[in-house]
Amino acid sequence: MQIDLSVQGVSKTFGDFIAVDDVSFEVPQGEFFSILGPSGCGKTTLLRMIAGFTEPSRGKILIREEDMAGVPPNRRPVNLIFQHLALFPMMTVAQNIAFGLQRRKEKRSDIQRKITRILERVDLPGFEDKAIDQLSGGQKQRVAIARCLVLDPAVLLLDEPLGALDLKLREQMKVELKKLQAQVGTTFVYITHDQSEALVMSDHVAVMNQGHFEQVDTPQNLYHHPQTSFVARFVGDNNTWSGVVRRCETETVEIETVSGQHFRTRATASLSPGTAVELFLRPEAMIIQPAAEIPYLNRFEVIVKSLLFDGANSRLLANPLNDDTELLIALPQNRQFDHIRRDDRIEVAWDEQSGICFASPE
């Protein structure tokens, strides 16, 4: 499989500040690769280095096996879709799309043909002569994508292009973008701080934090098998407890939380009695009112503080007895739990295998 983009030990420093810290990854041809991280984690700097607007302080960037050191953005086979799209307001849709082709001195008739074809591809046939300010948010999005895709780049870089759209449109564009990528087969590198965008669209996601990659994995693995506490915390919702390891067995460890609860959970590497740990648990891993005969459960009672109804994504907000830790508990909408009210005292439980704990950072 051809590697379209290879980043090898790239760092970027601004004075004393390390924006990107020794990052390496490879993106094979045709993959949708996302870089997910909170704002200020260095993902935009990384993207701008791939596009050529900044040079790395250390390391190498290879695009289709060619070293890009010293190659300016206008000579790189990558194109960038900007956060605010940066469509040229003084030009029509067709002129915007033709801009890159004209720079390559392509023939007028070829340009005409390519514009028509790409506009059909992004579902905007006949939009050639529209002015940019006549377009809706979603249409602008598609023109920006068309303007880059028409140049047939080796890698298409996207800098949070969905950020400015409203929620409904964002959901729709997510699916469309994924479909479009599958159709055209161009390698996409997408950066975002929105985990749902990254999880829905990507083949692989890199979670970035303070300049380095925490984990590069498939969306499923990131969610189910996070390798660091940052990934566990950042991807998906969590209940978090701090505690200390009391006992280690081969498969499980017993943890005493700060508020005195005892939980048994799956053991991960290098935990010994006395280690301070953080325990993470997905809201949907909580079972409400479990049957008495199910083995290997951590059972405890909680008091319901409020019901957060949100369709399929409904939750309970609850406190354990004598403790004001807030817990999120998924509330399946199968009518089985319709009787639960505020201030009810209910039993909840979770399977020993569904919690994940990491040694807490000092």
Partner: protein, 289 residues
Amino acid sequence: MTMNRRFQITLPLICFLTPVLLWLVLMIVLPHMDLLRMSLRAEDDFGNAIWSFSNYMAFFVEPIYWLTFVRTAVYSILVTLMTFIVAMPVAFYITKVVAPRFQGFLMMLLLMPFWVSELVRVYGWMILLRESGVINHFLIRLGILNQPIEMLYNDVTMIMGLVYTSMLFMAVPLVSVLESLDDSLIEAAYDLGANMGTILFRIVIPHAMPGIVSGSIVVFMLTLGNYLTPNMIGGKNALWFTEQIYNQFIASFNWNQGSAFGFLLLALSSLVIWVGLKLTRQKLSRVAQ
């Protein structure tokens, strides 16, 4: 109902409009009407005042008048063009290249010379450029010249002086229009394969067009109507049309002829600006914003 309300003359409207109207009528409309009346008056053979176009005819009959007129117009356009060429990189540097915290400082540097009156600044140039001036002194000291040369009183120096005088009026609208240009447009063009020239002509200048046109109008009108700089730096050779007007009023006491020249200058500047707007496909209402 809404129409009625829009055109109702209310007390606040009167309060705000009165000073403007007074200004316009008393200081612009009335004097111009009087000038227009004067420009159309002449004396017949018996010394009686009559209505006549003879003042305007004199302009076309006497080559020195209309040659000066054409020369003034051509040089004013040239000065406008050169001012743009000088001010554009300055404005671009201030808005796009330099770190934001220095922008204010650089704008101050740009504005500072204009706290001093034009007269003083022109004297400054004269101290530098005249035969016994600073530049000649240094050139002779360095052995580059054997004897001082006169750098004042020629067209090149005069145009340089006019460009210098009008720099600010071009730079300020350019800075403000370039500030509104999103940097990512420049980066996007660069990313799509454009070189610096293409970015300048396809992205920066089209975006800056309203600022360029409004700056050009101001610079052109100020240059066309400038009396001080052409006279002092250009001297007797300046042949600037404002000088002709001045001579008619002050030297020949021919107010009627002077008024006619004044109106011709007004017509000229209006014509050139109208042609300029047509050529660049800009609307005055948009440019004036």
